[in-house]
Symmetry: C2
Subunit: 357 residues, 2 copies
Amino acid sequence: MLHAVIMAGGSGTRFWPASRRSRPKQFLELITKKPLLRTTFERLGGLVPADRTWIVTTAETAAPTRDLVPEIPVENILSEPVGRNTAACVGLAAHAALEGDPEATCVVLPADHVIGEEVRFRSALAAGASLVTREGGLLTFGVQPTRAETGYGYLEVGAEHARQGDWTIHRLERFVEKPDAEKARSYLESGGYLWNAGIFAWRAADLLEEIARQLPELAAGLDTIAASFSTPVSKTVLEETYPSLPATSVDFGVMEGARRCWTIPVDFPWSDVGSWSALDDNPSGDTAGNTSRGRVLTVDAGGNILISTGPVVSAVGVEDLVVVATPDAVLVVPKSQTQRVREVVEALREKGWDDVL
Amino acid sequence: MLHAVIMAGGSGTRFWPASRRSRPKQFLELITKKPLLRTTFERLGGLVPADRTWIVTTAETAAPTRDLVPEIPVENILSEPVGRNTAACVGLAAHAALEGDPEATCVVLPADHVIGEEVRFRSALAAGASLVTREGGLLTFGVQPTRAETGYGYLEVGAEHARQGDWTIHRLERFVEKPDAEKARSYLESGGYLWNAGIFAWRAADLLEEIARQLPELAAGLDTIAASFSTPVSKTVLEETYPSLPATSVDFGVMEGARRCWTIPVDFPWSDVGSWSALDDNPSGDTAGNTSRGRVLTVDAGGNILISTGPVVSAVGVEDLVVVATPDAVLVVPKSQTQRVREVVEALREKGWDDVL
């Protein structure tokens, strides 16, 4: 049967000061009206029922996750004691799905992306799930690039393998790390590259077989954890074992070396909403090109992203800035440098100002 | 006898969001360690006793003024029902001083300026007071310019009249409104111009005589108010009469047309601290040239003025900005445009966001 795995292990740094350790990006209501995690769940509507939907979250965010998606059985919310990257995350979820369904096929989705055209999105997911259920292999969905973006990883598309409804399934040649501007342009022009959206489909057993073949240490740890499922010591075993698992991504650690990999080019609107500047895409701007949320006032200021969850924010005579204000913290950064918010979080940690992390 | 009149009727707009209607600039502890009003009072120490010190304040700030300067008798704190500019303010204080001292000489000082070298400052005040007590006339103190400042009014210095200790008393030719950059340069080069610091000395009776001669309507209103002093209806008369007084400055409305005017060039350090950018003068900057107050963090940011009375402020990759954060309001403005904060206050008023005014 088809299962959905929502990866919700974000650390809450890129959208500081709105996001915090205890309230990462997927819980924010800034970007969309509903928190992204809620939207991600609702977007699956009709394709996968709640009792076959799994969320992998952190110890700190398990409780707010339960509150935000009460439809999902609490035992389907898997809490990582520490983050060990995506290979461990999807492996844990595969074991959980297999526990009650030896034939489980999983579609895997990040909790904090923005995706449009939901019907088309579900159609693509269904096509991918159908292929891997029938033929095996690991499949990733790749977004047709619309600009020479340097902030995303890419997929190199191989030969056409099959068609299914509206969708064409290709072999996946390789994963490509975030390119420089020149490479990004050549990828866009060639037409043979897709953005790596981090959305996957596989039979749970196939994923675990590839993990066992390529990452035996990870497989052994996951087996230990899975063996304790439904026993009174499951939580203890998870907490003792998980931190020692090798931390590697499913992209480069599992799929890159897997025997058979597929990709489906998709064209629904997609954004990973990677930093504050992504809010510029949002069509709520004023005539001066400011994007505003909350009580915000501008005087002769243009092209800014101005966000408040508390204080009145007033910007005078400034351009292309991001200003984010919460009751206890304020961020000011040029739109072109919003990736550097991580550095702020790091500096706050060094200063010991943990109360605002 | 010598009296001091402290003009403390500021409206609290230029240092928004730190300053508010109920807490104008003279109450802030941002600029100096002590609020400027307190420092202004203490700076008079030894020259004028507290019971001959008068503070003209607003209805909204009378109570915090009493708290800040408890040494001054409460009846010496005069509360303007509405601001009617400085001619009315100093006229009211002159009547109050005359009430118990027909020979009163007043030195008049703004409550919210920064002044260094206090001994020299008091020496200059004493010299000016001595001259007007002896010879009459209205006297203003002028600060020797150190740069071609366009943000101040100027005084054109006339012929030398007398010497007194370290000080030279000149005739005052005229008041000059804030000049453009070219004029300011020529004033600086000529050596014959001083900054108008808004610090005055006169016999109370002489001031009121000039007001009566030049501004009879103002004089009549002030007489009505003064006639009610020490009666049970004094507050009612003040509240009924004051709002109808003509609003004009003592500089242009009284001194410009007065029969005899003096000026004393002074060279003690002085700043009217007219906007946030004045804090740049303050030598508390870091190596990147940022001036900071409160919990402030910079990453690759230089030349900024960063102030917080509440939230953590983090600035990344920005230059020459002013960022001021309070628990309920945040301001972002280039250092070169801090005069425009008044426009923000105006816009807030129009929006009806009175809670942050």
